[in-house]
Amino acid sequence: DQQVKQNSPSLSVQEGRISILNCDYTNSMFDYFLWYKKYPAEGPTFLISISSIKDKNEDGRFTVFLNKSAKHLSLHIVPSQPGDSAVYFCAANGNTGNQFYFGTGTSLTVIP
């Protein structure tokens, strides 16, 4: 059963606007969350993370928001750039375990 879900397989956004990618999880024991970006024919690269003790983490144009009560996190990209076009995966981990659980990915297209 999928413990981390990304319900939008794709998203298109105009350059300069905000991109919002969403992720839901079911396991309340998860306490560390990550976003990865993946270009075709490359491995995923780490983008940004958030611990469950926070509800927001920013890194430049990227901000991750965590709503623990709703078991929901989102990635905001502002402003979006054509180079941001990629597949984005969210992942979750419980602090006592080593296994990461990944969502199915959202393909973001930023239109120039």
């Binding site: 990550l34 491995g43 995923p44 995966f89 992942a91 006592t96 080593n98 296994q99 990461f100 969502g103």
Partner: protein
């Protein structure tokens, strides 16, 4: 910079062949992972290892085995390749415990004919 390398970018094998995929990391990470990525299914964990000679099954271990004889190297073995194992295989490593990001290799696109 962490570097995770995989032995091949592209591989074509025949049904029934034994296939070895090698992964090496250079950051002295305790944990290493093998995933496969398929369209619409995301990244699914095959096996992971948290120490030399230690391994844990992931979500889809059937048809696969692994070997970790040295800390920096983690091998994935397809005992008898089948066409449904055609996929992108990704290796990753991370520090011990949960609050560390994983670093991924470039992937191996395996085609079984």
């Amino acid at each position: 910079d962490v570097k995770v390398t995989q032995s091949s970018r592209y591989l074509v094998k025949r049904t029934g062949e034994k296939v070895f995929l090698e992964c090496v990391q250079d950051m002295d990470h305790e944990n290493m992972f093998w995933y496969r990525q398929d369209p619409g299914l995301g990244l699914r964990l095959i096996y992971f290892s948290y120490d030399v000679k230690m391994k844990e099954k992931g979500d889809i271990p059937e048809g696969y085995s692994v070997s970790r004889e040295k800390k920096e190297r983690f091998s994935l073995i397809l005992e008898s390749a089948s066409t449904n194992q055609t996929s992108m295989y990704l290796c990753a490593s991370s520090g011990a415990g949960g609050a560390y990001e994983q670093y991924f290799g470039p992937g191996t696109r395996l085609t079984v004919t």
